[in-house]
Structure formats: structure tokens, C-alpha cells
């Protein structure tokens, strides 16, 4: 699987995403933000960081960069795109995903492990449909603005169309306010676009890519994408 990892000035998870891709046997390459074309990837990752310093609203400037035009085209034509942390913020700003990520309700940065309940009904998405375990994923967060907000009408629509991918929960999969690290609506940690090929998530699966570090639950997402791709290509 060829993976294009988009790098903006201020991106810092690009190296970790490269690492995670190598861990699962994918073939990653980096694309600098000034490039017009992303090549011919099977998947695009927009990694975490502080693109352009995030001095304006997080992700607000990145949407206008050269490279994003091709990313948007790739996504619209059904290409698999995942935005992690700052990448999620950029996908929202680029209107590939609905909603917005505002400051954590604590008004503080949060870096810690979280448990993510996988939404059973969203499993038609390539990111989820081959996840082999039946329990929440343990994946760390690291953000100051991960508080997902969306209006009630859109939230209803997200639920109805099975587009909430992950919710913050405890290790048993119970979703409650107490397990919400940032105040996001309905404990939302990640959402899908309408056709399920674009995923935005605040937690960092690329950090859960090694038993030595924070476990390997993040790899389950990449393995799922690779499996669905193999099925598709058959």
C-alpha cells in the first residue's frame, strides 16, 4: 500500500506516521505542502502538528495550501484519506468533514491514553471493517483543540448515517462524560464522510504502533485499510 504523508510547515507527526506505516509493511512517502500533486497513493495521511503554527484557527491556513487541492480531489474521487489531530482539523476546515474542533473544555493541552469505542454500525468503512478485536482501542491523544463541535441537526445526520467512527470510552467500551478528555459532543473522537473513505480523528494511531511504546492498537486501523484494499483489488 502506497501512502502519501502530507507535510506542512509545523507538522510533527510525519515521522511517526512514516514509522507506523513501516511497522505494518506499507510503503510511505512524504509530500511537502508546496507540491501540486500527491502522486498515486492508495491512502493519504494528513498528520498531526501545528501547521503554519496554528496561530489562526487550527488548520485554517493549511486548507489553502497547494497540496490540499489534490488531496480534496483524491478524496472526492473516493480515495482513502485520514486526518489525524491537526489533520482532522484541516479536513474540517477543508469541508471534507462537517463540524469544527474547538479548544478543550479544560482550556489545557491533553496528552494521555484514551480508549476508543468503535461504532459497530460504521463498520462498512475500510478503516473499521476489518478490525479484528471486539473491544475499545487504546490510542493516545495529544491536543489543545480536540473538542469536536457540530450543530444538532448535523449530529443527528451523523448518527443516522453511521458516521461516528470512534467515541471516547472506558476500557470496557462504556461511553460516559467522565471518559471525555476534551468536551467533544457525544464523546466523538473520530468521524467519517458520507461515503466512508475519509476519516478524521483526534487520537494518534501512529503512536500506538509498537509494543515498546503505547501498544499496537493503532496498527489495527491500518491493517483494516490494507485488507479492504486487497478485497477491493481482487
Amino acid at each position: 500500500m502506497k501512502v502519501a504523508i502530507i507535510v506542512f510547515p509545523g507538522t510533527w507527526s510525519d515521522g511517526d506516521c512514516m514509522y507506523a506505516m513501516h511497522q505494518v509493511g506499507a510503503d510511505p512517502y512524504k509530500v511537502w505542502h508546496t507540491q501540486e500533486k500527491i502522486g498515486n497513493p492508495d491512502m493519504v495521511i494528513i498528520p498531526g502538528g501545528f501547521s503554519y503554527g496554528d496561530y489562526l484557527r487550527c488548520g485554517a491556513i493549511a486548507q489553502f495550501s497547494n497540496v490540499m487541492k489534490d488531496v480534496v480531489n483524491f478524496a472526492i474521487s473516493g480515495g482513502i484519506v485520514v486526518g489525524i489531530c491537526n489533520g482532522f482539523q484541516i479536513l474540517c476546515e477543508s469541508e471534507l468533514l462537517p463540524g469544527v474542533l474547538i479548544k478543550n473544555d479544560s482550556l489545557q493541552f491533553r496528552c494521555e491514553d484514551t480508549f476508543l469505542k468503535i461504532n459497530d454500525s460504521a463498520i462498512s468503512s475500510p478503516f473499521l471493517n476489518n478490525i479484528s478485536i471486539n473491544k475499545p482501542l487504546k490510542i493516545p491523544i495529544s491536543h489543545g483543540s480536540g473538542n469536536y463541535f457540530v450543530d444538532d441537526l448535523t449530529l443527528k445526520k451523523l448518527k443516522k448515517t453511521n458516521r461516528i467512527a470512534f467515541q471516547y470510552s472506558n476500557s470496557e467500551g462504556i461511553v460516559e462524560d467522565g471518559y471525555n478528555p476534551n468536551g467533544s459532543v457525544d464523546n466523538i473522537a473520530g468521524i467519517l464522510n458520507e461515503s466512508g473513505n475519509v476519516l478524521g480523528m483526534m487520537p494518534h494511531p501512529e503512536r500506538a504502533s509498537d509494543v515498546l511504546l503505547s501498544g499496537t492498537d493503532g496498527n489495527l486501523i491500518w491493517n483494516s485499510v490494507m485488507k479492504s484494499m486487497m478485497v477491493k483489488n481482487k
Partner: protein, 732 residues
């Protein structure tokens, strides 16, 4: 002739001014005087500390840099891997503007590391504040933590550890010491040097503004009520720009080292110190044109340009034939790169502004700051804080209550509420997260890891600066050994009060000698460091705080995941018997909490300490032990409670009916002790190993995991783990 008022403003004495006159043989120009005063500030010139540095053991086979010769110390890790590291202070800026002060402290130490061509992989913060009940302290504390979080998280270098300590002496003068560790390949190490006539000085990064002018001087005088008016002397950070600068410099070192002579960061005293230090290292002259320096503000004069401490700037000493290559390289990273001067023959610095020479003098005249002898009476018995007699206090009645209280003290309790504000995982190397003693960070693309720590118990240094500083070094080493790492080298950050006071002079001199003594006996060279003096406010001097930053190596990570505490494992205390006398409360957190005073005699046998540390390392490599914890602040019971909390496990202690004093048994802080967790099948083996190496030991009990909420019982203690966790988590 200049008047005294003018000299006071730049913190230069009349005698120093006379020395300038003598060296120059004439009156200095305005710009020259600014350059002299900045480099002759304590912060840059080490006027009171330089004579002490000769005590430090600085050499070892694995040390690649000469002491003080580069921006940070470099250590050979084998297999061509190198680590560079340093601790530095940003105390005074943080006292008046905590957010930016702490943020630019982080930015400054990062530049020291990547100027050497190495990639920063870990940051640690050693923080000291006054009493948290005080509202100004809360403001400083929150500001400093936010500043560290704001800068470190944005730039994408993990903050993996450090300490937070509260003591009244730091009220109004918090300490913000930051340590950075970088790694890379030996061939990519870059020196901060200039040489070769005609080679170019290229300034990259931020434009130069009026921020931080005389910041080095500001760092070298006592803080006063008016210090808040010095906020303009505090710089403002831009971590985004520094991220670009970091990537560009690391890539330059790795891929294009043939284009450059050296890289020197701009920190305290800005362009002045940067250019002069690089030229001095290379033994050359330099000529610079301040009009060429890109400026953020209008009508800046050469004095301001030479002394500005604007952040996120770097000087690249470039081979003249590669000037376009270097400029284009930085352009790719969207950074300005401007030729501002060149290397010339001779030993002079020539500063031009709009074609007029505004400064011209021998470089050594400026870089060679005068030094001062510390004046004090070197008799411990005459020392202000000498108090060998512990006040008798009643022994503990309710041990459970005492333990819960200890665990909730700000100096003992869980610091998670702070550490979770720092990104401690980015770069995918963090094996042991903050809050568990030493951080353990994998060396990228290897099967090795670095263990990193900072430590200093300033109460013990206050009691006895020499022994207390020996203890600081030993304790830092113990933190590393407890995670199975062999200590390699240390960096010191000497935070003291005004050295013109004889008490402070006594503390400073003895602390340096204590550090040197411990470093020599434990075989841990001092490879870099920093001094921050004049930490005085109207209420007096801070507690003497020689912060020790230390790195060690773990070879082979295959076993590291097995180092868990599990039920049925035996807990041994090694280094001493379980029972402790009342004396062991000397300098302890328990005694301080009871009496609000410090007293007693501190003792450490460093030869034994070394033997004990080797014992632990050997026991790890022979796989006799699964886990270990050194006994430090809060004594045995706090160490044991932390082990149980970290591994969510209970404990059942053996009988201790013959205990003389419960307080000393539980909370005494006798040095040179570890707790080790031993699997049942290794118990005989560890006993024999301890006997054969003459290490005192005692079987303390076993870990148990018999319920959801197991009990911790030991002597008079019997508490549920949940209760212990609740107290531990309630302090901050």
C-alpha cells in the same frame, strides 16, 4: 567619562570599566561598551563560577567534547550514535513573564542542541516555586507550565520528565531549568566555530527586534519590585519558526556538512556573544555589518542590533563558495538567510553600521571576562544553616493517616495534572513516561535507550552544601540505575543567590566541590552546564539549587517489557537494613512537614553508593530483579506506595515488630537505598549475590493482587490501594 548611573544600568562596576579602558587604551564606543557589558554579565561571563569549574571531572573515553568548548556536551553511545545534552536556566525572565520566560527557555536550550547538528528528542523541566497557596505563585506556576506546554508541544519535541518542587525560598524567584537531549550520528556533529578568511556569516531565522536587549544583564542582577518593569527584557517565542529552523539545521548537518564551517545559536547577548564565541573558538577575526541584519522594527541602532535577544535565530558560518547553496537550503524551509558579515584574518571584531565603524577591538578583550574570588569563611560550623540537632518529635500514632498526608504533599504527590499538559510521546520513542522516576527514551533505529533525569533536593543542599550536592548527583544516578541504565554523564545548572553574600559564596563553592566529588567517585563526567546567580529577592536568597541533569544508557531493550511488578514477587530493601534510627529524618520531607525546619546531619558514602549501583545494574543484567525504585523524598514508605500505585498492586509486609521508631522506618531518608522486586524463583540467587558483594539486604514482603482493590499492609500501615491513590492524586 561615563557616570555611575550609566554603569549601573548595564550592571558594570567602576573597576570593570577601568579594566575596559586599560585593555582598549581608550574610551569604548557606545556599541563596544554594550558588547563588553553583555559578555561580562555573570550570565555570559561566569565571573564568579569559572574559577570553580576546574574542580569538575570532565574527561572520559566516551566524552567527545571538551568541557565548555561547545554549546552542549557530546557523548559517544557506540555504533556511531551520539547524544548531546545540557541543562540551562531561564529563571529571571520566568519571574516577571512566566509564559514567555519558560517558553523561550525551552526554545533556547533546543537551539543549543540542534546547533550541534543533532535532533532534539527529549526535554525535561526542573521547576521550583514558592508556596502554592500564594496567588502570585499560582500565577507563576500556571504561566510556566503553559509556556513549556505551548512551546514544546508546538515544536514537536516531547517533554518527558523533570521535577516540580515547592519551597518558600523560591517565592518571587521561581526556577525554570530546562534540559534537552539530542541524538544523531557522529559524522553529523557540528562545531560552533568560525574560521577561514572570506567565509561568510549568514544569519537565519527571525528578524531582529528590540526584545531582550540586555537580557543577559537582567539575568545577572537581583530581582526587585521594579523587575516587573523589565518585562521588555523578556523575549517572545515563536515555536513554529523554531520548528522550521530545527528541521533546516538538522538536515544541513546531515546532508550538506561540506557547505559549512559551523553553526552557532543566538541566545543570551544575541549577535555579540554568538559571533565572538564562534570567532574565538576558531581563532579568527570577524567583520559584521549591522545594517544588513533584517530588522523587525524601524530605526534600530547598532547597539540594539548587537545586543537584541530576539529568539529563533541562528548563525551559519558558511564556506564562501556555498553561500547560495546555504541560502537556498533555508529558503526551502521558508526561512530568511542573510549574509551579515565575514571571517577576517587577525583577532579583531569590526562592527560597521551604514559604512561607519562603530566597534573595533580585539575579540579576547571582550570574551575574556574578569573573574572574582568568592569571599567566605569555609567553616561549616559557622554557616548560617548549620543545625546538627534534630528537634525531638513524637513518634507516629496513626501511621495510615501520616502516609496519606505524605502522599498528598505537593512535593511528593502525583504530578500527572502537569505532565499531561505536555506532549510526552511525539517522535515515538517514549518507553517510560513522565512521573515514574527517570524517563526512558529509545535511541531511534536502535535497540538501545537513554534514561534521563533531573534532580536536586535543595533542602539538603541548604543544610550542607557539600554533602547535599554529593547527594544530588548520587540521587540523579540512582534514578537512572533504578530503570537499569548505566549513568554516562551529567550537566549541572547552578542556581544560587547573590554570590557577593558570604553565605551564598560558601554554598556555591561547596556545592561545586560536592558535585565534583560525587562525579569523580561515581565516574560520571560533567560535560556541560550553566550558572544562574543573583536569585535574590527582597525576602532573601533562594535555597541553593545545583540541579543535576543526567543521562544513562540501557543496552538492549528486549527485556524492558518484562520489568513489571507482579504478585508473588518479593520486595527487598538493599543498601541498608529496614530499621532506621531517628537521625535518618535529617533533611527529610517528613521532618520538614512536621517542624517546618531543616536539621540534622547528612551522610553519604559514595564508594558504597557506587558499589550498590553496580549491584543493581548487575542484578538487572543477570535478570534477578524485575523492577526497582530508589528511596528518596518521603523515604521507604513513599517509594513502596509509588511502586504499588504504578503497577496497581497490593503488598503484604513481613513482621517488623522490633522497629524502634515508626517515623524513621517509614519516612527516613538515609541515602544509598533501593527497593527491588524479585521473582520468587530468584530470591535465593539475589540473597547470595548480595552476600557475595557485601550489600546489606532485607526481605520486606510480597506483592499481592488478590482483589479489585488490594490492600497495602506494612508494619502499622494497612490501607486500600484506592485510598492511597486518592491521596496521591489529590495534591496538585
Amino acid at each position: 567619562m561615563i557616570d555611575k548611573n550609566e554603569l549601573d544600568k548595564i550592571a558594570m562596576s567602576k573597576e570593570e570599566y577601568d579594566l575596559v579602558l586599560e585593555r582598549l587604551g581608550r574610551e569604548p564606543t557606545h556599541v563596544e561598551l554594550g558588547m563588553f557589558s553583555a559578555l561580562w554579565s555573570e550570565h555570559c561571563g561566569y565571573k564568579h563560577t569559572r574559577p570553580l569549574f576546574s574542580f569538575f571531572p570532565t574527561e572520559a573515553k566516551h566524552v567527545l567534547t571538551k568541557a565548555g568548548a561547545e554549546n552542549a556536551g557530546a557523548i559517544d553511545l557506540g555504533d556511531d550514535d551520539v547524544a548531546v545534552f545540557k541543562v540551562e536556566s531561564h529563571n529571571h525572565p520566568s519571574a516577571v513573564e512566566p509564559y514567555e520566560g519558560a517558553a523561550t527557555g525551552v526554545g533556547g536550550i533546543l537551539r543549543d542542541i540542534f546547533a550541534m547538528g543533532m535532533r532534539p528528542i527529549a526535554l525535561l523541566d526542573s521547576l521550583r516555586f514558592g508556596n502554592l497557596k500564594d496567588s502570585r505563585t499560582q500565577y507563576l506556576f500556571n504561566g510556566v507550565v503553559s509556556g513549556i506546554s505551548g512551546y514544546g508541544n508546538c515544536i514537536g519535541v516531547p517533554t518527558v520528565g523533570g521535577e516540580i518542587f515547592f519551597d518558600n525560598s523560591y517565592t518571587g524567584n521561581p526556577l525554570v531549568n530546562v534540559m534537552c537531549v539530542g541524538v544523531g550520528k557522529k559524522k553529523d556533529l557540528v562545531s560552533a566555530t568560525a574560521s577561514g578568511k572570506g567565509n561568510l556569516l549568514i544569519l537565519v531565522g527571525a528578524d531582529t527586534g528590540r526584545d531582550g536587549i540586555h537580557g543577559a544583564t537582567f539575568a545577572s542582577v537581583d530581582l526587585s519590585v521594579d523587575s516587573v518593569n523589565d518585562r521588555p527584557a523578556v523575549q517572545v517565542g515563536n515555536p513554529f519558526l523554531e520548528k522550521l529552523l530545527m528541521e533546516a539545521c538538522v538536515e544541513l548537518a546531515q546532508n550538506h556538512q561540506d557547505w559549512i564551517i559551523g553553526i552557532q545559536d543566538l541566545g543570551a547577548a544575541g549577535l555579540t556573544s554568538s559571533i565572538l564565541e564562534a570567532a574565538e573558538r576558531g581563532g579568527c577575526g570577524v567583520e559584521i555589518n549591522t545594517s544588513a541584519v533584517p530588522q523587525r522594527e524601524i530605526e534600530m541602532n547598532p547597539y540594539e542590533i548587537m545586543l537584541s535577544e530576539s529568539q529563533e535565530r541562528m548563525l551559519i558560518i558558511t564556506k564562501k563558495e556555498h553561500q547560495n547553496d546555504v541560502i537556498n537550503h533555508f529558503k526551502h524551509w521558508e526561512l530568511d538567510a542573510t549574509i551579515i558579515g565575514k571571517v577576517i584574518d587577525g583577532e579583531e571584531v569590526i562592527v560597521r553600521h551604514e559604512n561607519e565603524i562603530v566597534a573595533r577591538t580585539n575579540i579576547n578583550f571582550i570574551t575574556n571576562a574578569p573573574t572574582y574570588k568568592l569571599n567566605f569563611n569555609n567553616d561549616l560550623k559557622e554557616y548560617d544553616y548549620y543545625n546538627p540537632n534534630l528537634e525531638k518529635i513524637n513518634d507516629i500514632k496513626d501511621a495510615n493517616q501520616e502516609l496519606l498526608e505524605m502522599l498528598s504533599l505537593p512535593n511528593i504527590c502525583n504530578k500527572k495534572s502537569v505532565f499531561r499538559q505536555y506532549d510526552h510521546q511525539v517522535l515515538n520513542n517514549t518507553i517510560i513516561k513522565p512521573g515514574y522516576g527517570a524517563a526512558v527514551i529509545r535511541i531511534p533505529n536502535s535497540n538501545k535507550a537513554l534514561a534521563i533525569t533531573t534532580d536536586c533536593n535543595s533542602r539538603k543542599v541548604t543544610m550542607n552544601p557539600y554533602t547535599g550536592s554529593e547527594i544530588a548527583v548520587a540521587e540523579a544516578a540512582r534514578n537512572l540505575v533504578a530503570v537499569g541504565a548505566k549513568p554516562l554523564a551529567l550537566s549541572d545548572c547552578l542556581n544560587f543567590g547573590n554570590p557577593d553574600k558570604s553565605t551564598v559564596a560558601f554554598q556555591l563553592s561547596n556545592a561545586v566541590q560536592g558535585i565534583s566529588s560525587a562525579a569523580t567517585i561515581l565516574g560520571i563526567p560533567v560535560v556541560s552546564g550553566n550558572a544562574s546567580l543573583y536569585n535574590d529577592t527582597i525576602t532573601g536568597s533562594i535555597a541553593p539549587t545545583p540541579v543535576i541533569g543526567m543521562i544513562g544508557i540501557i543496552e538492549g531493550l528486549d527485556d524492558i517489557l518484562n520489568r513489571k511488578i507482579e504478585q508473588q514477587q518479593h520486595l527487598f530493601i538493599v543498601g541498608s537494613q529496614l530499621n532506621q534510627k531517628f537521625d535518618s529524618l535529617a533533611g527529610s520531607e517528613y521532618y520538614y512537614n512536621k517542624t517546618k525546619s531543616i536539621a540534622g546531619n547528612l551522610e553519604i558514602d559514595l564508594v558504597f553508593e557506587k558499589k550498590l549501583q553496580n549491584f543493581i545494574l548487575d542484578a538487572f543484567s543477570k535478570k534477578m530483579i524485575k523492577n526497582s525504585q530508589d528511596i528518596s523524598d518521603g523515604g521507604l514508605m513513599v517509594a513502596l506506595a509509588e511502586m504499588c500505585i504504578n503497577y496497581s498492586i497490593g503488598f503484604s509486609g513481613n513482621n517488623i515488630s522490633d522497629a524502634q521508631r515508626i517515623d524513621s522506618l517509614l519516612f527516613g531518608e538515609t541515602e544509598s537505598r533501593f527497593l527491588i522486586s524479585v521473582p520468587e524463583e530468584k530470591v535465593q540467587e539475589i540473597i547470595e549475590f548480595a552476600k557475595s558483594t557485601n550489600i546489606p539486604y532485607e526481605d520486606v514482603g510480597t506483592f499481592v493482587n488478590d482483589s479489585e482493590d488490594p490492600s497495602i499492609s506494612f508494619g502499622p500501615i494497612n490501607l486500600k490501594l484506592s485510598k492511597i491513590k486518592e491521596s496521591y492524586n489529590s495534591g496538585l
